[in-house]
Amino acid sequence: MTATTQPVPDSALIGRVMAGDESALATLYDRYSTMLFGMLMRILNDRGAAEEVLQDLFMQLWRNAGQFDAGRGSLPAWLMVIGRNRAISRLRGRRDREVLEEEEGDFAGTFASPQNIEDEAARAQLAHRVAAALSKLPAEQRQALELAYFEGMTQSEIAGKTGAPLGTVKTRVRAAMQSLRQIL
């Protein structure tokens, strides 16, 4: 008889959350709360608000773990997408983003990541690479991308804030995403 220890896969923990196992939810919280809270703080810049969104996110997972379909992607990616939408809805006082992501269905796409973000060591390395890639972008491209992602601004709002023509905003976002695509 031999025995070895391996991390419990997310999908197994999700199965246990669906079965009402509180400790499985606690394990998922320990695994991903730091990653999620960092993003929520970047968007909301308010510890109390970020903790409330984080709690709502995990309560959604507790109540509706069945909504997460492992066939469509990874759990941390799903949590990032839903968490970002909730934070931006709160930041901007609007509900449409939550509806978009959670009910849109056809266009919601997968919650996959081209990289593995379930593994902690790989995730840390990937975070380092994404941050480094962003820092290398021309300032106006990075600004356009950050206004869209972290502040939830539309292209028109970005144009209004930066004073750049709409076509320029489009080009900047496209160029920034292409650079990230090459790096990632």
Binding site: P7, D21, Q55, I117, I158, R174
Partner: protein, 257 residues
Amino acid sequence: MTEPHANPEDLDLYALGALDGEEKQTFEAHLRSCPACRRELAAARERTTLLGLAAPAAAPRPQAKAALMDKVRAEHRSPATQMAPLKAAKKRWGLRFSLGFGLATAVLAFATFELAKQDLDRGRQLKKMQAQLSQDTTAMQAMGQVTAAPDSAMVTLLQQPGGPPGQAHVMYNARMGMGVYSGQLAPVPAGKSYQLWLVPASGNPISAGLVEANQQNGAMVMHLTPGLVAKAFAVTIEPQGGAPQPTGPKVLVGVAG
């Protein structure tokens, strides 16, 4: 005539949630009839998701977790009434596991290469991790086999009256003689060990190995004799290092099938 594909600029903006106005409506109308653009959008969303990682990781206060778990306990659902979804989820476990492992290996290999170029020390650290991952391959494959097999069964082990709190799960495949244990127990008394037992239909219990009190993040993979049918699983408190047969009190018991 084939409808032209969506403007790539709009695709990225839509993935970010930044496309607005008439352009958004036009884009969505096109998506409804264009599988190729829907695939492109999915890929763009995948890249967009990674942007969140650029934010520095930050820890919420401990009381945030406590508040969450209080709320969860207030809405507690009984495990016994919810076993069916667990079996359905089990089928995805193996697939996700094997895919996750493959991706982890690929990412680690890539990161090793990149970092070795940039920073030799960090590259060496990653190579060490890669070696560890390689050593664990057999165990990970075993876990994947058990969780993917349609004839594997999940057994929930519950605490015993008067005993310390705890709960655990064993996914076991009798045909392969392999199982996966994960669970949470009270800290083990000094000088003692928790030991997992397979109780066969007849004969003495068979040791399935020692388990840690907190085996939530790390599952234990057990290898027993193929064809060994389990009537139940139990965890007992034994002298440190374990015993050939159970001698101490049962802290968790779960009846199979």
